[in-house]
Amino acid sequence: MALIAIVSLPLLAAFLCWIPILRRAAWIISVICLFLDFVLALFVSHQVIQTSIVVGVRGWLEADGLSALMLVLVSFVCALAALFAGDEMRHNGKHLHRLWWFYCNYNLLAFALIVVPALADPNLVWVGVELITLFAILLVGFETTASALEAAWKYSVLTIMGAPISLLGFLVLFWAYRSGGGTGQETWSSLTLAAHTMPPSLLRLAFLLVFVGFGTKAGLAPMHTWLPDAHSQAPSPVCAVLSGVKTSVPLYAILRLLSIVLVSGEARMGRWMMVIGLVSVAIAAFLLLQVREYKRMFAYSTVEHMGIILTAAGLSTQASDFGAVSQMLNHSITKSLCFYVAGTVLVTMETREIKSIRGLLRVSPFMGATLLLCALAIAGAPPFPIFLSEYSILSAGLRAGHYLAVVILAALIVLAFIGIMLQVNRMVFGRPDWPRQDVGVPLTCRIAVIAAVLPVIVLGVYIPSPVHSLLQLAARQLGGR
């Protein structure tokens, strides 16, 4: 029941936002519904920890460890971003009469993001991922400026091009399932059971097509070029959702399929995933050195982290799978924090460029301190959770004997760290060439930033035992040995 409620709450919120007399209350409706969703997701994952699978509608809506983890992440980021949006969108001053439309769309995006991990049928997962893309297009182009529309167009052409390719992939997957003697309904779990009997050549082709198609949506290099445009032009709360969870949801589908391919005994595929993951990390790390806008900087760091997760999944040992899922968790909470901070800076300083912001610490200690903190956290500095998961991925790689990959990955992570910190140093420290001294941070922005900082600090020093067991359950779904 909880699963059905989780999926239908955002739809209900979208409908309520659309009703004319409720349009003025669109923000508060979205925040309440999405926070309820987050509570429900926590409840579902609590159940999953005990029974290892929760069934909403058998064969259609099911949640195992990995799904439950994604549900928690998606609902957490969507709820906080909705809270953040309140004052951020109002502060903008533009499009006030269209705000209800923004929230309506935002809830539809949240629905699509939440439904994908809960779906058991891979073909419906394809539909869900396409819905995510489509609703995100409308939100990226929401501000209807020339550059926002350009970003939306590039985003839509590149990511929708992936759709038919991955559709063909899922059709081939269905064919493989039937040729392997599968008779019942096709679900992720029945596919895993049938992994050994499916013809390997079909499974390979299916994975290849799905990987290319969904890779465009997950922002993996070389299909990442839309990502910095979309993530720099969309309204900041949307950026937080796009970067924090929208990229990891297609990656979640890729990892599910990868685990089936790996279970079927196709070890070479893991090595290819490592290569592609490392290429993504490399491209992001070098581009991080030459970005001009801070929101683009965080967008490139998303490409970097997607690459790291894929590399970890490609290592396919139990330890590296644990690293991959915890990297997913840590990336989501940290990257959404980064965009809340970046959005606050954008709203108050009214510039996107790194070089026109100096001495943020003196202009506003709150913004300066949180920007420094989130930059350190996303770059992977020691007391923060991303450091822990990157460390566990690297050590898992060493234990699996992939020395070359580990050395390259470590070098690139250091390079990305340098890139991010160089840019952020210029913004945070120094003397402001800005006469304005007292910059007020809007209230809901402040609350959202503080609420997002807490888990980033806590998870770095202490992982509560339910989180740990959920991560272990999720890692088991990736099928590492």
Partner: protein
């Protein structure tokens, strides 16, 4: 032909050839209207193929799929395009291309050959003659659609390129995954219409704000080296 073919299956082969030809025609057409027209023809061929295979396999499912295709792609999508993009459709008649027409056709031909090579290792899995026809041609449709998406610099032909890719995927799909749950196919068709609506609205917004639907003119967002001071 490796196995015996019934009459509907032979007609399906004819449809397959025509689908491929219509994919080529979409690459070779210079006018926006012409591209839309060839897309409708291709969708009709896809539906015909559904009905033929449904007849030969006695599958109500494929009949339903053919009906869905006609409703979504022959009726709904051209209607949506007309509603949202009528002005864009008629304003610029000639399409800018990266390559000239003969070069594009040659590249499309190479893509078709490539897709036959790509699926040839799989052909050993199945003796089914329908799959041996539909899968390579469907894949070729997907690849040629992707190519026209990259090579065209106008919003509407790019959108049609995406829809043609979808057609290609389905053309392969009716052979390899005929018993896919109907709900999956219905939502896919709904999705395709939604793509058209959203891209159409976006293209109209771009037309109103920037004044052109030439995707090649959208070059403001990119990375430049910073000057380190």
């Amino acid at each position: 032909m490796p196995a015996q073919m019934s009459v509907p299956e032979a007609l399906n082969t004819l449809c397959a050839g025509l689908v491929l030809i219509s994919a080529f025609a979409m690459v070779a057409t210079r006018q926006v209207q012409g591209v839309v027209r060839f897309f409708i023809i291709q969708s009709l061929l896809l539906a015909a193929s559904c009905f033929l295979l449904g007849f030969s396999q006695h599958s109500m499912h494929l009949y339903a799929l053919g009906t869905i295709t006609i409703v979504a792609k022959v009726i709904a999508i051209p209607w949506v395009l007309k509603r949202t993009l009528a002005r864009v459709l008629y304003v610029r008649r000639e399409i800018d291309q990266v390559f000239n027409i003969p070069a594009s056709l040659l590249l499309a031909l190479l893509l078709a050959i490539f897709s036959v090579l790509l699926v040839s290792p799989i052909m050993s899995v199945t003796p089914d003659p329908v799959i041996r026809i539909n899968l390579p041609i469907g894949l070729a449709g997907v690849l040629i659609g992707a190519f026209s998406l990259v090579a065209r610099r106008e919003a509407v032909p790019q959108l049609i390129g995406i829809l043609a890719m979808e057609n290609g995927a389905f053309f392969a799909g009716i052979a390899i995954a005929a018993e896919l749950p109907l709900i999956a196919e219905l939502t896919v068709a709904f999705n395709v219409i939604l793509i058209t609506v959203i891209i159409g609205l976006l293209a109209r917004n771009i037309k109103e704000t920037i004044g052109t639907t030439e995707a090649g003119a959208l070059t403001e967002l990119k990375e430049e080296p910073v000057s380190w001071r």
